[in-house]
């Protein structure tokens, strides 16, 4: 019998992350909230999940930085406008 369980763990982990972010929404800086609204947290999670078995931490950090910098730049540019 084949079960269709693959991906269940990922959805569960992502849902937990989202829920934690919502629970802490009151404590989050408004500017950071704007970054959150750009789904940056989900993108950071996607990197973290895809790279969870990767031992090359420098490469993982490079990917994380790219995601955060891009979202932050968008927010800063939008604020400047």
């Amino acid at each position: 019998m084949v079960t269709d369980d693959s991906g269940k763990a990922r959805s569960q982990a992502e849902a937990t992350l989202r829920q934690t972010a919502d629970e802490h929404a009151a404590k989050i800086d408004p500017a950071v909230k704007k970054v959150l609204d750009l789904k940056a947290l989900e993108e950071v999670f996607a990197v973290a999940w895809a790279r969870q078995f990767d031992r090359d931490r420098a490469a993982v950090q490079r990917d994380l930085r790219d995601v955060v910098q891009k979202a932050v730049a968008e927010v800063v540019e939008a604020d400047a406008d």
Binding site: T3, R55, V72
Partner: protein, 669 residues
């Protein structure tokens, strides 16, 4: 439901398509097996009696993937070891001067074809393991990956740490519970491995986010320091940052030292335990030597006593024949005496008829009495009694002669002593065979000074304790400094003169780090509970005991059996232990971040038939590809699994072709 082959590429699990083994263990020459399965037939059964090489197939896969194999005691098996002979390279290959061994595994992962090949080769005649060079190669499609990326790529596909739950040995799982009860490194490793299967480390990315925040904080501080008014605050923050760095460096060094000491402590513990085992074995051997000695003394004593008896009664070996002869003579005498008695009666009758008067009671006889006596006389004469007094006398003479050789006590004594000799010989044989077994167990084991080993173990224990205390102290200091630094850094990041982009990046990294950190704890708990539920569901499916309500999982992923009232049941049989372990494997595979092939070298023989049937029915659900290694006591070769509703993709049999060689043959599915 979509078939696995229709799933998105990233979801498609690792599946082994073939395995080729050359000159590994009992597989001399090349042996290739096709391991492809389908969505509807995911099970591969490899039959083989004990000592045929089933475990070597599992070892081949482990060696092919990770380049190392351990025996059931956790000791690494070298490619070549001419001293202990416990080696991976086939002994037949060595005899033929063939010092090349390889394993090639073809598999698919996320929809791509891979081929990993590991080859051990020595040029010329190898004398030690060091003479071998190991060359791994890994191909993704037609692309050959660099040697440096082989390990990380395989780790990312099927991590060595988690592989114990995919490529597992039932015998090792028996110790699973015990393992988790010990608060040592290995239990922690198991817990970490389990969490890795469940995807917990993915949320551990907060450490990377913190590091990225620190880099940006440094850049931010550099720009702020240019303004004199923020100089002191920046200096104070930088000072704290440097102190934190120093503390972390010290901590990392201490951690490294602690790990080293712990490894040494584990070795020392093992050495002490081996010595203790050796002492026990030696004690048993001494007792057995003593038994051999006692048996030999007993044999000598009894043999000497038998010799003493025979010196005096040299004819004893013929005594049985003489006894038979004596019995025959006695029969002869008895028969002679009966003849004498009969003759006396004949004589009496004749006299009674002639005198017409009874010779016994003097009664006068009439003609009727005389006729009756005449008839009796005729009958007696017809019985043909012959009076031969000389033969009776001769028989008496012979009886006297043979009676001289009668020695019932001596015969009994010799028989008793012979029995004792036989008994002592059996005891000696038993003891000698046990000694041989013990000597085989003791061969190659480390020997040495027990006192020195215990002292080393105590010294290391105290060093480990000391290091743990030092690390504890550093952690407290680190927490204080970190809190101070964070407060100062928050101040700096919030300054209106701070670069807005850098400031927001720092805040984002920190906020994300905080969310990931908190989410990890929640997810860790959710995943643990989910594994517990899944394992419990599987256990109920597998068990035939209505009294068991299910399983309860603890923080260390240990599982307790629950009774009908939900109370833990203390103690369990080895069969129940196996069902529990299998339930955990099932639960973990169900909750795992990624499916993979499951290979089980397990022992179903401990299970009764009903449990065995339940387990067999469950096997295909364990994963997309399940390879089981079984002997006839667990699953007879002729048992039709289709009767149980199980589709088998392929069946193989490991056959011994000589004392040291085996072959793998495909059976009809």
């Amino acid at each position: 439901m979509l078939s696995r082959r229709q799933w998105p590429k990233w979801l498609r699990p690792m599946l082994i398509s073939s395995l080729e083994i050359r000159n590994l263990r009992c597989f001399y020459g090349s042996h290739r097996i096709d391991l492809t399965t389908t969505d509807t037939a995911s099970l591969i059964v490899i039959h083989g009696e004990n000592m045929r090489g089933k475990t070597s197939i599992m070892q081949a896969i482990r060696w092919g993937l990770y380049g190392e194999v351990a025996d059931r005691h956790g000791t690494d098996i070298p490619v070549f070891d001419p001293k202990s002979r416990e080696q991976l390279l086939s002994h037949d290959a060595v005899s033929d001067g063939d010092f090349c061994m390889f394993v090639e595994i073809n598999f698919t992962h996320e929809g791509e074809d891979y081929q990993v090949r590991r080859e051990a080769r020595a040029d010329g005649q190898a004398e030690s393991n060091e003479d071998f060079s190991i060359v791994p190669t890994l191909k993704r499609g037609q692309h050959v990956l660099s040697e440096a990326t082989i390990g990380p790529t395989i780790e990312a596909i099927l991590s060595r740490e988690v592989s114990r739950f995919f490529l597992f040995d039932g015998e090792m799982l028996q110790d699973y519970e015990q393992l988790l009860k010990n608060p040592d490194e290995e239990a922690l490793t198991v817990k970490t491995s389990i969490e890795k299967i469940l995807g917990v480390p993915a949320l551990g990315v907060f450490e990377d986010l913190d590091e990225l925040a620190a880099v940006d904080e440094k850049r931010l501080n550099t720009t702020l320091k240019k303004r004199a008014k923020y100089g002191d605050l920046v200096d104070a923050a930088n000072q704290l940052q440097n102190e934190i760095k120093g503390l972390r460096r010290d901590r990392a060094e201490l951690n490294y030292e602690l790990k080293e000491r712990r490894d040494k402590l584990a070795e020392a513990e093992k050495a002490v335990s081996v010595m203790r085992d050796n002492e026990k074995l030696l004690l048993q051997k001494n007792e057995l030597d003593q038994k051999v000695q006692e048996a030999e003394t007993s044999i000598d004593e009894h043999e000497s006593a038998v010799r003493e008896v025979l010196r005096e009664k040299w004819w004893l070996p013929a005594s049985r024949a003489m006894e038979q002869r004596l019995a025959a003579i006695r029969d002869e005498i008895e028969s002679g005496m009966e003849q004498i008695e009969a003759n006396s009666r004949l004589r009496g009758l004749k006299e009674s008829i002639a005198g017409k008067q009874c010779t016994q009671c003097d009664t006068t006889l009439d003609h009727h009495d005389v006729d009756r006596l005449r008839q009796k006389l005729t009958k007696l004469k017809l019985e043909n009694y012959v009076f031969e007094p000389m033969s009776v006398l001769d028989a008496y003479r012979r009886q006297r002669l043979y009676e001289k050789f009668q020695a019932t006590d001596a015969v009994a004594e010799v028989a008793l002593r012979q029995h004792e000799i036989d008994r002592a010989r059996i005891a000696r044989g038993d003891a000698e065979s046990k000694i041989k077994q013990l000597e085989a167990q003791m061969a190659g084991r480390a020997r040495g000074d027990m006192k020195a080993k215990i002292e080393r173990w105590q010294r290391l224990t105290s060093q480990v304790d000391g290091l743990e205390k030092q690390i504890g102290g550093l952690d407290t200091k680190l927490a204080e400094k970190t809190s101070d630094h964070e407060a100062k850094q928050r101040q700096l990041t919030g300054l209106p003169d701070a670069d807005p982009k850098l400031s927001l990046q720092v805040k984002t990294y920190r906020a994300f780090s905080d969310i990931f950190n908190k989410a990890m704890e929640t997810y860790r708990e959710q995943a643990r509970v989910a594994v517990g539920h899944d394992a419990s569901d599987i256990f109920r499916q597998l068990t035939t005991e209505a009294a068991y309500a299910g399983l309860q999982i603890n923080d260390a992923y240990g599982l307790a059996l629950l009774d009908g009232k939900g109370q833990p049941i203390p103690g369990r049989s080895s069969g129940a232990e196996q069902i529990v372990a299998l339930s955990l494997i099932g639960g973990l595979n169900k909750a795992a971040v990624r499916e993979g092939p499951v290979m089980m070298d397990t022992n179903f023989a401990r299970l009764d038939l009903d449990h065995r049937e339940n387990v067999l029915r469950f096997l295909p659900q364990l994963g997309p590809q399940v390879i089981v290694l079984v002997h006839s006591g667990e699953l007879p070769k002729d048992q039709e699994l289709s009767d149980l509703g199980i589709n088998v993709a392929r069946r193989y049999e490991v056959i011994r072709v000589s004392e040291t060689k085996s072959e793998i043959r495909e059976l009809a599915s």
